[in-house]
Point group: C2
Chain length 75, copies 2
């Protein structure tokens, strides 16, 4: 699995778990809804800055977000 796909999968899981729509997450993280959608589908590589921006409204420390991505990459 590519890192973009792993990140996208984790992002979607965390967003659904947080009970947020793509629009709500985009708004709360200062990103565009289209960009959130592209990230979830593994079609964009997030910058580290984007990971930090998304982690906050998802209520997860950035390093735990990255740990979940690592685990998904290995699965």
């Amino acid at each position: 699995m590519e890192i973009e796909a792993a990140f996208g999968g984790v992002l979607r899981e965390l967003r659904v778990k947080a009970g947020l729509s793509q629009e709500e997450l985009a708004s709360q993280s200062g990103l565009h809804r289209t960009y959130v959608s592209l990230l979830e589908r593994g079609l964009r590589t997030p910058s580290l800055s984007t990971v930090f921006s998304l982690a906050k409204p998802l209520n997860i420390p950035p390093h735990e977000f990255v740990l979940l991505v690592s685990e998904k990459l290995k699965s």
Copy 2:
């Protein structure tokens, strides 16, 4: 402190600790030496993929790398 500066500081610390030159780290992570230099000076935002590429030759799990960045951001 901006995330780029925090990342750059941690990158330099980890590289020195690993006993690698910028050229050696660049070679082992598949990046250009100039890009490693720009990252260390906080002049570029790394992608998550770049963080994973750098973590391997630095012998640190990607999420621990990110934890160090978070801690430096708070300091």
